[in-house]
């Protein structure tokens, strides 16, 4: 490897980047737009759950229960006169859940102590349904306590579970989604930047001219990798700044660790782009592969939204070839917890292996041959 050749290639790549605004758009405009949309658009915190209330026989007891719902910040209750119209509302998506108190509610609660609060949720979005159930459950428990106190009795709760959530006590989903989003955006940038660059050189015939010079394949690939990594890091810094200053995500780890892991990740993502680029000699096929293999796998298989441990075993194995998987974990730790080496090291190791595999394939499959 000769420094002069590598430097020459890097300089060439830099000029091309600077003179083609679309690369700069990919590195800086794309993360800006995506992070804004995602940051505001993706949230799992249920807010203003619209609840249809049906009370067949209003009493003081039912009124106190409804007041509790009314006071909760989560619910937006609407009163319906009968079960039928509430069901219609649920059907048409005007209500997320129905709470109905039958006419015998008050009587049963004083006599048998098993008066049913009937909750019906729309189960189509199972995750949301479960969250609604949890919220209603919590509100109902709180009301029980208060009701018992008001009546001078104590509610028997032998075991009281005090929940403490570390790193994100208020369970703000944005705090953990944004680090994950950064990982996904960086995957997109990495693949988009490099997926087309080698295929383009084949199509334009520039590769043939380069190939008959004494330059080695390693130099050609590094000449692509380094400038694009630098640009990707620029995008990363911008995203981090946005996360901290715009979305108020705490950054508890050190910047050094954050950017070192980001550099390693970018190398992996760019390596994957290079593999696509080397394998597909036409831009059209490279584009198709890039679309299919980057965004959706990073979105679904990285653990950013769906818990990897809950996936079937075979798919859990499959997630190991998704670079974003490691990066999502590391970013969530870096932002919310700090430099925890027992998280960083194994994930960095996994990513390094993946990186080596991608670069190895790119190097192995990319030979200075036309056949």
């Amino acid at each position: 490897m000769k420094v002069m050749r590598l430097a020459g290639l890097m300089r060439k790549e830099t000029y091309e980047i600077l003179r083609d605004p679309s690369s700069i758009a990919i590195a800086f405009v794309l993360p800006l737009v995506l992070l804004l949309i995602f940051g505001y658009g993706v949230s799992l915190d249920a807010r203003s759950i619209s609840i249809a209330e049906v009370v067949e026989h209003p009493t003081q007891l039912t009124a106190s229960f409804l007041a509790e719902l009314q006071h909760s910040p989560w619910f937006r209750p609407t009163v319906y006169s009968d079960e039928g119209s509430a069901e219609q509302a649920l059907m048409h998506g005007r209500a997320d859940a129905i709470i109905s108190l039958r006419s015998d509610f008050t009587r049963l609660s004083y006599s048998s102590g098993s008066a049913p609060v009937r909750l019906t949720v729309n189960g189509v979005d199972a995750n949301q349904a479960r969250i609604i159930e949890n919220y209603v459950n919590g509100t109902w428990l709180l009301w029980l306590q208060q009701e018992a106190t008001r009546q001078g009795t104590r509610l028997a709760t032998p075991v009281v579970a005090d929940t403490r959530v570390w790193f994100n006590p208020s369970l703000r989903s944005r705090d953990y989604l944004i680090p994950g989003l950064i990982a996904i955006i960086m995957t997109l940038i990495g693949a988009l930047l490099t997926a087309l660059v080698v295929a383009r050189e084949w199509e334009r015939g520039t590769m043939e001219g380069i190939m008959v010079t004494p330059v080695t394949t390693t130099e050609i690939l590094l000449g692509k990798l380094i400038p694009y990594s630098a640009m990707g890091m620029g995008g990363m810094m911008m995203s981090t700044a946005m996360a901290v200053f715009l979305f108020d995500v705490p950054l508890r780890g050190s910047l050094l660790v954050l950017f070192s892991t980001a550099a390693l990740f970018l190398l992996t993502a760019l390596g994957m782009g290079l593999v696509i680029s080397v394998l597909a000699r036409s831009q059209f096929v490279a584009a198709m592969i890039a679309i299919v293999t980057t965004f959706l796998p990073a979105f679904i298989l990285s653990g950013f939204l769906f818990d990897i441990r809950s996936m079937p075993e075979i798919i859990q194995v499959l997630t190991h070839i998704v670079a974003a998987r490691y990066f999502v974990t590391m970013l969530q730790s870096s932002f919310l917890a700090g430099d925890i080496w027992s998280v960083i090291l194994p994930n960095a190791f996994g990513m390094a292996i993946l990186c080596a595999v991608f670069l190895g394939i790119a190097l192995f499959r990319f030979r200075k041959r036309l056949d």
Binding site: P116, W166, N168, Q283, D307
Partner: protein
Amino acid sequence: MRLIFQRVFALTIKELLALLRDAASRAVLIGPPIIQLLVFGYAATFELKHVPFVVYNQDQGQLSRDFIARFAGSPSFDLLSMVHDQKGLEQAIDNKSALMAIDIGPNFSSDLERGRATHVQLILDGRDSNTAGLATGYAQSIVTTFNGVQIAEHGGNPPSTVLLDRAWFNPNLDSQWFIVPGICGILTLLVSLLTTGLSVAREREMGTFDQLLVTPMRPTEILLGKALPGFLVGTVEGSLIVMVSIFWFHVPFTGSLLGLYLGLFCFLLSTVGIGLMISSLAVTQQQGLLGVFLFMVPAIVLSGFATPIANMPEVVQYITLLDPLRYFLVILRGSFLEGAGPSLFWPQYWPLAVIGIISMIVAGRLFRRRLS
């Protein structure tokens, strides 16, 4: 008129041949959507299974062991290990080996036996707060069941009411039923965008576009000839994906096929229209690819595929009104799970049709402007 039909038909056939005769593009068009449906259908689940937890048990009695056994025996939780000090507990959470830790104090059994309330601490890793939130709910319900047994055995004042919950359309709250129809929508979007979004740029780069322009075909005919293949491929692939969902994933299909296909038609009208808009703007394939990405990624994120639209800030909610996938997901989920038919879908059909018609007109304008 017959001539126009003949020319558009010829162009459609040509587009389909060009897509399907090339082994690489054929493979990319058919293989990945099915593979993705299979992989993502299993991967995208919000259910919690096997959440690893550790226990720091300072209590010596039998009751604490019963309490732990209830967690360990639940399909949602897996007991990772017992730790022997606070530090072990902290480490397990820190290095993400456990998502939850249960800290049981020394007086757990004795308190309960004396009929006194006792406290346990549940510590959760908030780095993944969705999982943490769900796990809290699961844990609470285990604790509630345990309490019920305790009250029955040791007496006490039970709560005066019970909460009975049930879920419509998806009684077991199976999140696969929710996700798989969503993936159907995403993949249909992907395929129809890919077939239309790069097609004009590709002809421009290959130089065949001029050859096309010197024939007596009108711009509108060319555009129609580019739109139809997107429609056909989208319909065929969409149907295939729906079939896999029904017969492989056993997602119940309770609605009407007519309602679904009307929706698919309107949806394709809008995605093909948007694809053609990208196509008429892009000079190179790279720009086309960028355009497809810039539309597709927000369209998926803002569609309510994984995170509910109701959770978004109001401004963003207005933006989602422009997202065709948003409407199509309602139609898909409605048709699959809610047993809804065409009459319930009018609020979805008309925005899709409007987006489709407007984007087609804009694409036609842009296309004609590009030519001059």
